[in-house]
């Protein structure tokens, strides 16, 4: 397993955001983590990348404990946060160079990959403009390039489709496919269930910090008594949402 999460708990004052989660992700696997707003997905992501400290439990990345050996663990992770950290006064290309320095990677390799991605996302014209002039989608793409720097063994994508146009989402799926083929694991969280359905090998559904279901999309559907149902139906059913008795809202 490239990522192993064991009995992880996290509490914010009165709220227990993550309640003893345990699961793992194998190399070359794409894992979709689904949950409603406030279910604990982002908290979990932040604990994996070392932005938050779990109250209990362990998280191991590439056999390194995130708490005991954070540098080695983080060196194995590429992280795209939901709201990316980008410096408005830096150009997109400078940001990529900075990430290369921060991660101790060979700049020429990182830039070669970034050049291909700038080309694929049709951002060559903007790569030397400051990030302050970028649209939200452009920022997301540059942040994604930063997360892919060095092709790390584990890539965490937190709501990667936000602000992306349909073609970019298609490219993102292609990138995830390539990562899978290269043996990198991908942990992706998204509210776009169709996207997860198309690209994830396994999914985990969490609600209020607890893991409700784990397995391939068809396994999860079968386990919830709705074999063959689409992911949206399975998900809403699992988190206890009744979609049939909603009154007129407007």
């Amino acid at each position: 397993m490239i990522l192993r999460i064991e009995a992880v708990r996290k509490r914010y004052d009165q709220i227990e955001a993550v309640k003893g989660l345990s699961f793992g992700i194998a190399p070359g696997e794409v894992f979709g983590l689904l949950g409603e707003n406030g279910s604990g997905k982002s908290t979990l992501n932040k604990m994996i990348v070392g932005l938050l400290r779990p109250d209990s439990g362990t998280i191991r990345v590439a056999d390194h404990d995130v708490q005991a050996d954070p540098e080695a663990a983080k060196a194995a992770i590429g992280f795209l946060p939901e709201v990316p950290f980008l410096y408005p006064a830096m150009t997109g290309r400078e940001f990529i160079r900075f990430i290369a320095a921060l991660r101790g990677l060979e700049e020429s390799d990182v830039l070669a990959l970034a050049d291909r991605l700038f080309g694929a996302f049709e951002l060559e014209h903007a790569q030397d403009q400051i990030v302050g002039s970028y649209s939200a989608g452009m920022r997301k793409k540059v942040a994604l390039m930063g997360a892919l720097a060095g092709t790390p063994p584990l890539v965490i994508l937190d709501e990667p489709t936000n602000a992306l146009d349909p073609y970019s989402i298609f490219l993102l799926r292609e990138i995830i496919d390539e990562l899978r083929q290269r043996g990198s694991a991908v942990l992706v969280t998204s509210h776009i269930l169709e996207f997860i359905e198309k690209c994830a090998d396994r999914i985990g559904i969490i609600a209020k910090g607890e893991l409700l279901a784990l397995g391939t999309p068809s396994e999860v559907a079968e386990a919830t008594g709705r074999p063959g149902a689409n992911l949206e139906t399975v998900f809403l059913n699992l988190v206890g949402r009744n979609t049939e008795q909603i009154p007129k809202l407007l």
């Binding site: 990348v49 983080k74 950290f85 900075f98 921060l102």
Partner: protein, 490 residues
């Protein structure tokens, strides 16, 4: 028209009241005001009864607190003028442009303040050359400035009174201030205040004093003042009434889309000797600094500050204990702090806002902390060294007391780690008004006043010892004496 603007302003006032005027803040505010009143009496008393030296530092500290908080608003006002996050919200509402502009004018009243103060300075200089009683006119202008200040008052008072007073640093600084109070003499009311106010007048209008020294021609000063007022008004109306027009956003956007390919590679090749990660961090800071709006505004202040610092160091008599002279000396030191603050604060802010990027990278906490410390401290040291060298150039006979040296080292030992910790773990929000003006932050910066004020002789001594031979110093002194004699004849 007024009802629409009134609605917007009423709403904003409500938000401000909700933000700042909760019972806890009110209580702290009352304590703060009472404390500041006592502090004022003590410090004014100390300033009048003591000689210039270490004893004068508390008044400098107190004045520094107020001036730093006021000065902190100037770059903020500039930023809000163009980039306030709420502008997009307001512009997207069915609000007529004139309503929007009126709202902005009220919200961003600090440009008023700048304009009024500039006008007051020049008018004072003009009248000072004649024999008119300028006090009423000047007071009127100042009242206008204060009114402008009051319009945005909730920003100032909110940050100043409530703000970070509840923070740990704020509490420690407050405790230190309160425990040091009994050591100071109490001002005699109201005579000392009247004396202080009279003396303060000449300090407060320092630029106009300089203007009248530069030229004794009332016509030139008057014309200059008039020009400054017209220019200020034109600038003000241009900024508020034209640049907000939507078509100017497209111009700004075009500027931001300029290709920038020179800075990073050039700096990277110059710093090639550094390790890869360290080089990346330095390049990041350098890029953000050189392209940031704050540092550019700061550089203008720095230019003015250095000129004033040199002027003050050259002409003020250290034995003159009048409050005006103390204030002038203070102002010179204050500018050192402003210089440091403008640089250091920005860098602290840059680091804190995007700390997540570093925290999620494979960078050891020790390396992050070291980078933060270096980023925070290097500008302070470079600034102090540069100004120390400049002070030596204009005033080689400044004191080199061992007591000052020891105290300065002790204070330095306390404040630098605080700065470092702030740099590493500060948690500023996007809208930074309360943080920049709050007690904790302001206290930190006024702590720097203490450091730098006491530290200056040490720097002068060190820089003098290392970089100037006695012969050079003697030659410089002779040259400067000539300049000073020339200045006196003005």
């Amino acid at each position: 028209m007024w009802s629409r603007v009134g609605l917007v302003l009423r709403f904003k006032l409500r938000v401000a009241l909700r933000t700042y005027l909760n019972p806890a803040n009110l209580f702290l505010g009352l304590i703060s005001v009472a404390g500041l009143w006592v502090l004022t009496r003590r410090l004014v008393g100390a300033a009048i009864e003591s000689e210039l030296g270490l004893e004068a530092l508390p008044p400098l500290w107190f004045t520094g607190l107020w001036i730093v908080t006021t000065a902190a608003h100037l770059p903020i006002a500039g930023r809000l003028l163009f980039r306030a996050p709420e502008c997009e919200l307001l512009l997207s509402q069915p609000l007529a442009p004139r309503h929007f502009l009126l709202e902005r004018a009220a919200e961003l009243s600090f440009p008023h303040l700048l304009w009024w103060l500039a006008s007051a300075f020049f008018l004072y200089a003009w009248i000072d050359l004649g024999e008119l009683d300028a006090s009423r006119l000047v007071l009127g202008l100042l009242a206008g400035a204060l009114f402008a200040l009051f319009c945005a008052g909730y920003q100032l008072t909110g940050g100043l009174i409530a703000g970070h007073f509840r923070s740990r640093l704020g509490r420690w600084l407050a405790a230190a201030t309160i425990t040091s109070l009994p050591a100071l003499p109490l001002a005699r009311m109201p005579d000392d205040f009247a004396a202080a106010a009279r003396l303060l007048e000449s300090w407060a209008f320092w630029p106009s004093t300089l203007a009248s020294r530069l030229t004794s021609d009332q016509g030139i000063v008057g014309a200059g003042g008039l020009l400054a007022m017209v220019g200020g008004l034109a600038l003000f109306s241009d900024v508020l009434f034209h640049r907000w027009h939507r078509k100017d956003f497209s111009r700004a956007l075009t500027r931001s889309q300029t290709k920038r390919t020179l800075l990073w590679p050039t700096a990277a090749s110059l710093l090639a000797a550094l390790p890869r990660t360290a080089r990346g961090l330095v390049l990041r800071d350098l890029t953000l600094f050189l392209r940031g709006a704050y540092p550019n505004a700061g550089l203008a202040i720095v230019g003015l500050g250095v000129v004033h610092f040199l002027f003050s160091a050259a002409v003020v008599d250290p034995k003159d204990t009048r409050l005006a002279m103390v204030m002038t000396q203070f102002f010179a030191v204050f500018e050192i702090v402003i210089v440091t603050w403008v640089f250091a604060f920005d860098w602290l802010k840059f680091r804190s806002e995007w700390l997540g990027l570093e925290q999620s990278s494979p960078l050891a906490p020790k390396a992050q902390l070291t980078a933060s410390l270096v980023t925070a401290i290097v500008p302070c040291l470079v600034t102090a060294a540069t100004l120390g060298a400049l002070a030596l150039l204009v005033r080689p006979d400044l004191g080199k007391s061992w007591l000052q040296l020891l105290i300065s080292l002790a204070v330095l030992g306390v404040v630098i780690p605080i700065l470092g910790v702030q740099a590493a773990w500060a948690g500023f929000r996007e809208r930074s008004i309360p943080e920049e003006t709050a007690f904790g932050m302001t206290g930190g910066f006024t702590g720097m006043i203490l450091v730098l004020a006491t530290w200056l002789p040490l720097w002068i001594g060190l820089v003098g010892a290392f970089f100037f031979t006695p012969a050079v110093v003697r030659q410089l002194r002779r040259s400067l004496d000539c300049i000073r004699r020339l200045e006196v004849t003005w």
